[in-house]
Subunit: 367 residues, 2 copies
């Protein structure tokens, strides 16, 4: 195999697939990128067997001799990153020795043959196939992914639920203490209900540009594929029964508070400096026209801040984990935020004022 | 005690003393800042008993009631950082409870009385007292500190040697494999030869502005004090006999290479990607008009880059630890750098072309 390409073009595309390279893998070849020529394109692939990212490059590529090789991923991307902004020639001999040349620099690196690379899953016919706007999918991921569990003991909660039904696409993230739900209309397609690992969603977040184009989403029996730009990203799904969330998001709240998002964000951050107990609890006391936010840590001290709020109901106090409140304020994206409450022992709801498509439920901390 | 001050003024000054707060200390009060009013000033102190930083603040301070208190340092600086850019009132009652108020925010923090704070070393009359320009001292630290040893088993090599003799000030850093030496003229003063811990030099680097003012340096029997701006920084010295360095810096070299600093820096960085053996060795082959830099790692591959150089002597090859070369190139500060060599088994010298005041010696790696 012999090709030449532009440094920046190659680096950009290697960075897109880098996230799928195996880290703690027992199969050494998974630490490598697969580089191969297919027709007039250069195909770059990385996989850890759970997540696979393929990228095809056709611009600024000159294929002198077709072929395929795998190359140590971390080493290769470090090399390309440090090379001058110029033409790179990659030349592979029959012993899998790779020569990388750029100006007066020569690297010789040992590769492994493509035959050692695991065959990627043959995809049967997909069960669901729909298109969704890039910016919208990015927003939906951002607004749910942060709420998933980081604890591997309940594997299903470490993923984001994707539901497609009645031409609506819904995403849910929960760790059992808080839940984020978002929905949006999509074109006509079959229904599905799957749990997607966060790893692939994190990669999507990184590389989904906020343009007008669509992502093509294909759901197979045990995997999901996202196609956009020059990328094909495939992930296995998480097996299992996701907890029922409909009841949680349909709760009725009788108290509504409206408050400036930025002011509340800062107040929560400041007060939480003194919320260093296990539950990191901050108390929120709603009374006419204001919220009083308070935290106390034994032997250290306490913090209290008053925030003006649009509230007319009866006085009530509730405590939440400070991080759970701060997390949603970071993503809600509106100047004001609406908090709905019932009583001290019941969950609270956070959303953009009046918005029905996104909501966030937090369980209270007992006080 | 009751004072009020501007948030930014307080934060700036707390950040200057923060580096001296004890971290792994068995004396809890060393985790605190000492805050006291002395005449019309607010004095802020932090110490880990090795390093003490005192800062006096007289601008934008309103002392309502004089006094002293110690306050948990990390917590307090986090609080001040998050407060709005406004007036802060600090009020301490007789039970050492501290109330910090700013706009509609109230913190109550438990302090410890000044009586628990260790009495800071009484300084006898200094033995040496001289002044040095801030920017110059900063440069001298920067150009030597990186060469010291990080290995605590030879304590003396973890510090920077400061020699004052014949109206010259000299600084030396070495880890036994490379040595950095810098000198500069100072005003008339007594001679001294002391070893300064890097911790205090790192703090100086952070807060020495590059203006025309001087730093006053006072050397006592077992400590050194630096006075500048509103700061008094005192550190214990490292006890022991520093190895003799004069012979090392007076070696004779018969081969001189001149090369562009930036080009060499990039080449060393690129080639060292394949220098991942224990010694991280890169081979440098000097021949007429060029350097050929090369690294090889078994089972991985090799890298080679040619760099144009001003060299006319006989061809020779020498190997250095790549990091030792990269380190000096970062600080030398000139467009070109001069490398002086003798033979494969002898040390090499790096300096700005023709400059006598700064030089750097590297021991070769056997090849």
């Amino acid at each position: 195999m012999k090709i030449s390409c532009k440094k920046n073009e190659l680096l950009d595309n290697l960075q897109k697939i880098e996230g799928a390279v195996g880290v703690k893998t027992t199969l050494p070849v998974l630490n490598n990128f697969l580089i191969e020529t297919i027709e007039n394109k250069l195909h770059l692939t990385a996989t850890d067997l759970e997540l696979t990212i393929k990228c095809s490059v056709s611009e600024n590529i000159n294929i002198i001799d077709g072929g395929a090789i795998t190359i140590p991923a971390k080493k290769f991307i470090d090399i390309v990153r440090e090379l001058p902004d110029s033409d790179i020639t990659i030349d592979v001999n029959e012993k899998n020795n790779i020569t990388v040349k750029c100006e007066k620099i020569i690297y010789k690196i040992m590769g492994l043959p493509k035959s050692e690379y695991p065959p990627l899953l043959e995809q049967k016919k997909e069960t669901v196939n729909f298109k969704v706007n890039k910016a919208l999918l990015k927003e939906m991921i951002k607004k749910t992914i942060f709420a998933v569990s980081l604890d591997d003991t309940r594997k299903i909660l470490t993923g984001v639920l994707l539901v497609v039904e009645n031409n609506e696409m819904k995403m849910v993230g929960t760790d059992g203490h808080r839940l984020a739900f978002i929905k949006s209309a999509v074109g006509k397609t079959e229904n599905t209900k799957i749990i997607i690992p966060t790893k692939v969603l994190n990669e999507l977040q990184k590389f989904l540009k906020e343009d007008e184009d669509n992502v093509e989403v294909l759901v197979y029996e045990n995997q999901i594929t996202f196609k956009f730009d020059n990328l094909v990203i495939t992930s296995r799904l998480i097996d299992g029964q996701y907890p029922s969330y409909e009841q949680i998001i349909n709760r009725i709240f009788d108290k509504k508070v409206k408050v400036n998002t930025e002011i509340l964000t800062k107040a929560v951050k400041r007060v939480s400096l003194l919320a260093i107990d296990k539950a990191s609890a901050i108390k929120i006391k709603a009374s006419e026209g204001k919220l009083l936010i308070n935290a106390t840590t034994a032997d250290v001290g306490e913090a209290e801040e008053e925030v003006a709020a649009d509230y007319k109901g009866e006085e009530m106090t509730i405590a939440f984990n400070a991080k759970y409140v701060a997390d949603v304020l970071k993503v809600v994206g509106t100047e004001e935020v609406e908090i709905q409450l019932r009583d001290t022992m019941s969950a609270g709801l956070v959303r953009a004022p009046g918005a029905e498509n996104y909501l966030y439920i937090i369980m209270p901390v007992r006080i």
